[in-house]
Symmetry: C3
Subunit: 474 residues, 3 copies
């Protein structure tokens, strides 16, 4: 069990208020409207692998930190692109983690892992080189028990809705299995999210082939831009049938644009012919945000925008181990000019809902809060990735509340593929929000009863409403 | 009455010091060197309208927040550009505010309004859907009393000097009436500020016509650039005669430039002929900052620079309800390159005084504090607009003091058109500065007697001296 | 003596933990891997000049603050470029400091000077206009005593290693004298740092002449790019022989580039012929970072990057008093795109070590921590210059630890030419780190024993290891 005052300010008065506020949200159901859990995990309900395969190999927060101190990902079992053998012995990987555990002091990874071991698995032994084997053995024992299979944990965690994220090319078969067993479909416990980046980004190797496959999956002719849009619309329908209430878009910048139907078609064709430039790719991504916004106005999917990551900045890492293994780096992001074409067309349309995330915290007070506090369609996404930490969550509230209040923020999203850490991540966010509101109460800026209502709204009601999870109930 | 410890840190030791420091500034006269109160309000001294017309309709902080949750400004009585009917029933507007009062939790608007109701109007009933009518009635009663007319409030607030802001096209008749009654003129209680943006910004629709009118008002031929400068100089003289001690300049960027007399004249002429480009407009604005700096060196007006707002970003709002109704959004602003042409020419001239504001708080520690702490002419303006909040004021002090100290900051400005909120805004700033200095004392970084002198300087002596309000006394 | 709780949070619980943590580092030896002390100061071991010449004239933090309030540097004794007489009377300069002492409230300069007077010189009288002469006399008395000569202070301060910074053109004679007396050389108490900016920056007046001199000093033909590289390699060898373990590079931006040998040679030749453009200069600086990285991989010098300063922004100051007198201003800096060419080639090479500093604190969480936490070669330098303050040091830890932990930070560097302030600066950093870790302990985010190990690592072990000061021991 975590210390009851974990993350609460040390001042006695504030701490007492924070405790009371957290007590109101601690046991609320978890709303998980955005994340990267593999739906097959829940559909299969197979036991997890060993602790290293569960907690180290797939967690790029962990492997990048170890790389930063010179430990190659291959020694941590991260699969290689060319099939070169990587470390396969979970216990050896675990020893490397334990030997370098001090690197994680003060990081959210440390907090997530430690709380997961203790809170989810009941393993309270502090990890260290001396205890590495003990902890590994205790976790392995637990992982072998039926109570630690995915569906049992899902129920224990109190997850009300978990949204996974799939490409339009995905046949959604895992979601179909879940629906057949009463776990998925509209209003179900596990739903999908429409994430079309791999068929939108001309610079992503293999784009033209994937566009062709999109046509096959959707039963449409994607050799023309019109057919491509038709195929995307059709896949959105299929996703909605699998429970999706939102789409997600992760571009390098926040640019949006309206190239017009002919302009967009011309770029699309250059893409298919392999003659598109980098500028074409950027303007096509920007244009497609507008196309998807128009589709959203029609079909009601909430748009999530996750701009500002320079993908595969660490080229050696990308060449050796592929995508999504810790080689992305944030960059300064301009939402004011970037979103202007979108918002000048549809920003005040009550049917559109756009949840904006950032990796650039300078935009919290300067751009995102003013946009969310001045356009009917814009909501502020939870602190993302490098900013999803106790201090990041605190700075987020301090920076956006002045201009956007609490009710233009979309609530916490765990955004994780680490299924077992989900309750821990939500608990940390709830603790930080309780601490934040407690400070406001202690400084006489918010009444205690309002704070009580607010923390419950932030933890439960707001994400449920903003992501339209309330109206899709079966 | 606000809670005596409003906004003070909860720690007992710090709180006790903050209380003592605030007691030293609480009752000092208010210095209001920059704001947007209509001078006719004080000149006419007519009773205010109903509570909705006073507190909701003209307050774009309030109407933009309500728009952000889908409530159209027309339902809040915001006048429409095309004369379409908008909500005229103050009570209905008030009910909308009350029904959405929770949106403002944690925002400065909530604090300003609540403190204004209680502190200025003695209405302590918390606003809620249930109490909406009671609060409306109580405020209406007060507003009907002579003690709540503008001049009575002005006196009760303890305002020593209030600067309004006018265009060079303004005939300053309201100020003339005030002067005639002993309220205005040099050293008077109500003075003006020279704000020439509407005759400087080629991109502001109607510029050429306004330049012609400038000629008429100034009795000069503004068909040439030389005549235009002469007209501006002449209007500055008239403004100084109406008490002005400063000018104000609100451009999209912080760019300054010296185009030379011929270069500037060429752009000016393209402007008159309607052939100026966007780049022309930007370089003309940049050049005019240098022209105004030269005029300031001659006539002593303190220059205020308010760059970094993308005006009318919300185009629908602008098209429907016009300017200054909440549709502006900040943008990243470069003061280092932008101000270089100005500062390389006049930055160390002791006759020039430039007060620099920002909407981009990243520039506090990176740009503005280093510039103010290294050039004789530069002072740092108070946190502005989206940053004028308890947390914004605190972050401001934490970010600029290291490099610029306290004495390169120009003191608080309320920057408001909401006359009734003026004392409340100053009180909040004084509380935050007291809390900040209390922390320094508690951490043994500042002696108590120095802190005591500093808070009084920040609240009263510095703005009075830096805005040259001390030397213009009649 | 400073107050025992100086800079510790007021909360009793946190303060008690901070005290215990600081007690562990207070008396550790000082590691000073980067600074600007003149090596001749230690080599000569002559008495210091008067207090004004020691504390005011050479300290651009102090003279720029006084300039910002209109006091010309000439009145403070800052030497003029053209030989114009400047104030020579130390006591008069001191009176100006005392009369304006209030300007420094809340600044690190105030803290450094006050603590230096008290802690190093035992002068506890608070400086004020009334006590100016007393303080001056007391400091003068001390400065005349043998115990206050440089080497005696060096020993008293407990400095283990002090790195100075020299140009490749320097003949390192002061270091040779130190080595001869057992103070310098590899593993010695005083070592040098290789800082080649003046022979790399084409825009620095006199570059071609200095390149010629470089050839003379190195005994190489620097009329070709190949010869120039040979000369630089040769000087690095000489610096390593004088104890250097690192190089230092201070460019306006963080740009790196690989122009290829022919491309670089072409720019180099344009530089020699005086036909290089500003773009040439930028790309040559960027290219040379890559050349130096390759040399570092071979010879083991740790690279320090100090980008982001607009040198001589205050042109009048530069024209009147030259370089490094307070006229530089930070600018927004892009490390993500800037360092990409370097890191994509060598970022994961375990032989390379790059310590990255910044004047743009927005890059802490957005760029530098993600880079340091994801590349094997990158470490985060201590808060630099305008950010080297109690609040800057605190914000640094809060911003970088989430993503980079503690162990990708390179430890404190005092970066100062003010020799007498060295122990005070380290003490402040150690206090701030103790306070930071105390907060983590009080919020149950870090165990007390881990915090104890961490503060010792930050103060001593990390800088010693990362700057390779451990392996160069004689």
């Amino acid at each position: 069990m975590p210390h009851p005052d974990l993350l609460f300010p040390p001042d006695r008065e504030v701490r007492a208020i924070a405790r009371e506020l957290f007590a109101l949200t601690r046991d609320l159901p978890l709303i998980c409207p955005h994340g990267h859990v593999d739906p097959a995990l829940i559909a299969d309900d197979a036991p997890f692998g060993d602790p290293a395969r569960l907690f180290v190999v797939p967690d790029h927060y962990v492997t990048r930190m170890l790389l930063s101190q010179g430990i190659p990902p291959a020694e941590l079992g991260v699969p290689s692109v060319d099939g070169t053998t990587v470390q396969a012995d979970g216990r050896k990987i675990w020893h490397l983690l334990a030997a370098n555990w001090h690197l994680f002091r003060g990081t959210p990874s440390r907090l997530w892992l430690e709380q997961t071991f203790a809170d989810v698995f009941g393993v309270e032994t502090p990890l260290s080189p001396d205890t590495a084997d003990d902890v590994y053995d205790l976790l392995s024992e637990r992982l072998a028990e039926p109570a630690y299979r995915p569906r049992a944990l899902f129920t224990r965690f109190g997850i009300e809705t978990l949204a996974t994220t799939e490409s339009p090319l995905d046949d959604l078969s895992a979601h179909a299995r879940l629906a057949a067993e009463g776990w998925g479909g509209p209003g179900g416990r596990v739903i999908t999210t429409f994430r079309p980046d791999d068929v939108v980004d001309l610079e992503w190797a293999g784009w033209a082939e994937r566009v062709e496959r999109l046509g096959e999956v959707a039963g449409a002719d994607t050799s023309t831009f019109t057919g491509y849009l038709t195929a995307l619309r059709s896949r959105r329908e299929a996703f909605i049938a699998a429970g999706a209430t939102s789409s997600d878009h992760g571009h390098p910048t926040a640019a949006t644009a309206d190239l017009g139907p002919e302009g967009a078609a011309a770029v699309f064709e250059r893409g298919l012919h392999g003659t598109a430039t980098a500028a074409d790719a950027e303007s096509f991504r920007a244009h497609m945000i507008l196309e998807f916004a128009r589709m959203s106005i029609e079909d009601g999917l909430v748009m999530q925008l996750h701009p500002g990551s320079v993908r595969n900045h660490n080229r050696w890492l990308h060449a050796t181990h592929g995508r999504d293994v810790g080689g992305d780096i944030p960059q300064a992001t301009d939402y004011v000019r970037g979103l202007e074409p979108l918002l000048s067309r549809h920003g005040n349309d009550p049917r559109l809902r756009v949840v904006v995330y950032t990796l650039d915290e300078t935009t919290f007070s300067r751009e995102i809060a003013p946009l969310a506090g001045g356009y009917a369609s814009v909501y502020i996404g939870a602190p993302w990735w490098f900013l999803d930490s106790p201090d990041g969550l605190r700075r987020f509230r301090e920076a956006v509340t002045d201009t956007a209040g609490f009710y233009n923020t979309a609530g916490f999203v765990d955004d994780t593929r680490a299924f077992c850490s989900i309750p821990v991540r939500h608990a940390i966010a709830r603790r930080v929000d309780a601490a934040h509101c407690a400070r406001l109460v202690a400084e006489h800026r918010l009444d205690a009863d309002e704070a009580a209502e607010t923390v419950v709204d932030l933890a439960y009601r707001l994400p449920r409403r903003i992501f339209r999870l309330d109206r899709s109930a079966a």
